[in-house]
């Protein structure tokens, strides 16, 4: 080995950087987000009526796109009624439609958003819902 000391130091830095996620994966490493659907508004509904504007799978994947489109349609195009794929009509409003059922922002939105470091800018303009238990 020539200049062994320096090369070994370099390799140690390399291995150290690579090992960071393994060593410091964090205390929440095994935590799993569990968005809660037990708001009073949802519980009031009969079991069969507990449906979002679109299917659960669709909402899970596409809710951000949907909300973005709603914003554009309402704010820019002046449209206010959304017709879902099942033909049902909803008022396009984050605060009055979405948050009416999902009034638990911290236990519903933030649960997954925090887990994946997503910081939507909804609440830059909208007023956060007041939650009783924090």
């Amino acid at each position: 080995m020539y200049n062994g000391g320096k090369i070994i130091i370099g390799l140690i830095i390399f291995v150290g950087l690579i090992a960071l996620p393994f060593v410091f994966s964090g205390k929440g490493a095994s935590a799993k987000p569990e968005p809660k659907l037990d708001t009073p508004e949802i519980l009031k509904l009969p079991e069969t009526e507990r449906k979002c504007v679109e299917s659960k799978e669709y909402m899970k994947r596409e809710h951000m796109k949907l909300l973005n489109e709603w914003r554009d349609w309402v704010v820019r195009d002046g449209l206010t009624i959304y017709t879902s794929s099942s033909g049902k009509q909803y008022t396009m409003s984050l605060q009055n439609t979405c948050m009416k059922c999902h009034s638990n922002k911290t236990k519903f939105c933030d649960e997954c958003h925090n887990y994946t470091a997503v910081k939507p800018y909804c609440w830059d303009c909208h007023i956060k819902p007041k939650e009783k238990e924090l």
């Binding site: 964090g26 997954c112 994946t116 910081k119």
Partner: protein, 330 residues
């Protein structure tokens, strides 16, 4: 030839995932086993290559410099481009590693109006390379959000800066755009410039295609096809805590992305991508130019058997005297 081979090699990799995950349901193999294998091949491979390089002696300082060497006190020296001290070397290395200074000096030669050969400065490779490497670094750092819980603030800051313009949802990352553009440029450069195309081989095209498809699958996954991000993080957190889990319902696009990344990790130590470590070991960059000031002994010098004049005279003194030749000792 190389270009076609590389293209179909990457296509084949994608087809393998389709067959393996979609067809044979080998989620555990593609989600856990191959990523682990790739990671350890990468880690051990890089260490092995660096240690192999470390065993090669550099007997002499190789001063390929662009500045005046340190000599007499009245001659102005260039302490960074032609460093004499370790500090100078450190600064030159920092310029090289962080700003790609050698590429900045890139020139092009072209024949103009008949037999007039002209040289010019060309910064496109430097710019493209810089854009490519730095966006790659930012993208890699951003991905660390999948490997820490809670997520360190630095990663969140990088992410929010990257999505600064808040275009669409999920927010468009600037680095994604620049990255794809830079890889495309680096590829087109190889194809369009005849001299570069002439010296380009499969090993040049393959990493470009591979990295491009990694970028493309990532972009598709984030902006278009979408998949269960929470599930992905459960998988990655399982990997770093050595308690692997494979959540259901993760779209095939994620497995393609992951497999291509794994391929890159496996390919890394055995390819030109090792310049990541190699740049630190460039003898023309990391050695101070002190050839004239210091003695550098060639490490493979063996003891040479010498026969001095004194010994010679001792051997033949009588004969020299008899022949009337002058001797130093009587």
């Amino acid at each position: 030839m190389g270009i076609i081979f590389s293209f179909f090699a990457v296509i084949a990799l994608i087809v393998i995932v389709f067959i393996g995950v979609q067809g044979a349901n080998l989620h555990y193999l593609f989600g856990v086993v191959i990523p682990y294998a790739a990671f350890f091949i990468f880690l051990l491979g890089v260490i092995y290559r660096v240690l192999q390089w470390g065993r090669i002696p550099v007997p002499f300082r190789i001063p390929t410099t662009a500045g005046q060497q340190k000599s007499h006190p009245w001659i102005k020296t260039n302490p960074i481009d032609n460093p004499f001290t370790a500090t100078g070397v450190f600064i030159r290395m920092a310029f090289e590693v962080l700003l790609f200074r050698s590429l900045f000096r890139n020139t092009k030669a072209e024949l103009r109006d008949g037999p007039i050969l002209s040289y010019g400065s060309t910064k496109w490779l430097w710019l493209g390379g810089l854009a490519f490497h730095y966006t790659f670094l930012i993208i890699l750092t951003r991905h660390l959000r999948f490997f820490f819980e809670p997520i360190p603030g630095v990663i969140k800051i990088i992410e929010s800066l990257d999505g600064f313009f808040q275009v669409g949802a999920p927010v468009l990352y600037l680095t994604d755009l620049i990255f794809i553009a830079a890889v495309t440029f680096l590829f087109l450069r190889r194809v369009v410039i005849p001299q570069v195309r002439y010296i380009s081989l499969a090993q040049d095209y393959f990493p470009l295609f591979l990295i491009f498809s990694i970028g493309l699958t990532g972009v598709l996954m984030r902006y278009f096809l979408k998949t269960d991000v929470v599930g992905i993080k459960e998988l990655t957190m399982g990997l770093v805590t050595f308690k692997p889990v494979v959540p259901k319902d993760i779209n095939i696009i994620f497995y393609i992305h992951l497999f291509l990344v794994s391929t890159l990790f496996i390919y890394f130590p055995m390819s030109k991508l090792m310049h990541m470590a190699g740049v630190f070991l460039s003898p023309t960059r990391n050695l101070a130019n002190n050839n004239r000031a210091e003695m550098h002994v060639n490490p493979w010098n063996y003891p040479v058997k010498v026969h001095t004049y004194e010994e010679y005279e001792n051997d033949f003194r009588d004969k020299m005297k008899a022949a009337g030749l002058p001797v130093e000792k009587e």
